[in-house]
Subunit: 207 residues, 3 copies
């Protein structure tokens, strides 16, 4: 179960990486590599912190996801591009899956609840952050007009509470992941914000 969701999350994130590669004019190899970094990066960071062999390497089947994603983008991109927000939708799907499965794996390995929730968030936002950092652009994670991390935090916290209260089940993972996915897209649709890093608004955005 977890493996299937993990594979799907990897695939969704990899699509967002390959789409960025397409928009930046990278070649097909760069598309696979950026997709792999986006799809597998968050989980690798999580597993390194948990002290286990990253699933991307212990279960090489996960490597098929970025290859499939790059192939999909290669052949379907014109269609994909007609849907301007496609990257955001796939990214949101990966976010929903990884912030929940990441927290679950940490809990299964005996991490304390706070760390488990944080690792869920790291798994969810890590791949996209790595994607933006290596593609040398401002991370979507820090876009002040976009509450990217908030749904992931709520999802990771919810699944951790469910685990502690004994309500955890694969169905709950799917439910919470879907909730995060929906919350992410709704927040984009209605442009929800959180306060800036300082109480008063500022002009020197680039100082």
């Amino acid at each position: 179960m977890d493996v299937v969701l993990d594979f799907l999350g990897t695939f969704f994130f990899a699509i967002s990486g390959s789409l960025l590669a397409a928009r930046r004019g990278f070649d097909i190899v760069g598309s696979v590599l950026l997709g792999a970094l986006t799809g597998l990066g968050g989980g690798v960071v999580r597993d390194l912190i948990l002290g286990v062999t990253p699933t991307a390497f212990s279960q090489p089947i996960h490597l098929a996801a970025p290859v499939a994603a790059a192939a999909l983008v290669f052949f379907l991109d014109p269609a994909v591009e007609r849907m301007p927000h496609t990257l955001l939708v796939f990214d949101a799907a990966g976010l929903g899956l990884f912030c929940t499965t990441g927290a679950v794996k940490a809990l299964q390995l005996g991490m304390n609840p706070v760390a488990a929730a944080l690792l869920g968030v790291a798994t969810g936002v890590g791949g996209g952050l790595l994607r933006d950092v290596v593609a040398n652009r401002d991370p979507q994670l820090f876009d002040p007009d976009d509450i990217y991390a908030v749904p992931a935090m709520l999802g990771a916290a919810s699944i951790t509470v469910a685990w502690l209260t004994g309500w955890y089940s694969p169905a709950v993972v799917v439910a919470v992941g879907t909730l995060v996915f929906t919350l992410r897209l709704v927040s984009l649709r209605f442009g929800w914000r959180v306060p800036r890093a300082v109480a008063r608004r500022r002009d020197d955005r680039r100082a």
Copy 2:
């Protein structure tokens, strides 16, 4: 003792991260995340290399530091901004603490002296490097008009020598950390430099 210093260093670095978030116009969540990355990043890298669970996750109390730092910046930022070099001062304090405590932890875990000193430097400069890399700006670490890494190298080397000669004590950690902090600020005040990467000066800084 080490935990207290570790918490303080995390807090100081987190302030520098949250101040950068404020200057870049990030929201409060980005302020917490960038602060956490800055404050905890160096220690996480150190612990991953040491093969132990990062203290940020094994002792979640450390996570309170970035939250407190983001709150401080949120409410006090206008005042903080009236002190233009605040970011540099807090960054220097974190540098002084982490280059010493990082080397000490490596020595306590049986690392060889050279590696321990290097890990001290990595702990000291790692968080700030991650901060600048994810914020998509040229790392302060490589600013040719600023000897950022030199005080950290001296501090990490000094504490390692103190350990080998049996002169190590918590007081020595505080003393060396304070020395690094002072050296860092004095070098900024007087614009101390080290030679360029090439013997002759060059014009094509961006070639």
Copy 3:
């Protein structure tokens, strides 16, 4: 044997890092640090994923490579600069060595073949990717006019096949590494390409 090749690869990559530091006008400390990150980064990532102490820290002799590289660039840079493609040549040498030795180390530690080949590629391209990411420039790895990763993939795959078929020997490592090095330079000389990330060419390279 592996240690010698590992040291050489570290040295070659470190040269490319120090040359970039020189071109960006960094100081000598930044030259050592960027060289170290370039030369040791790929191996550290590989070893963290393998769950062993990074050789850069367990065998501090490796740290001599970036220091030697920075010194060479410092004193010889004007001559080096008269050879415009020097950075590419040293980078290619490091790529050839690391994609093979990286895969070998993973196989020696019992990784499955697919993961071992991938770790070889990661060891080969990781250091240069870190170099470009921290130097805040578009990674050479994603340059659509340059098949940077392809020779590394072929090399890591070849050495893995040689291992599985029992044909592995240090001589094979040298042969494959040399082949990767040659293929890399030949591909640069003749401007070999692979298809873009999308079937049709695009104009909005930066969209």
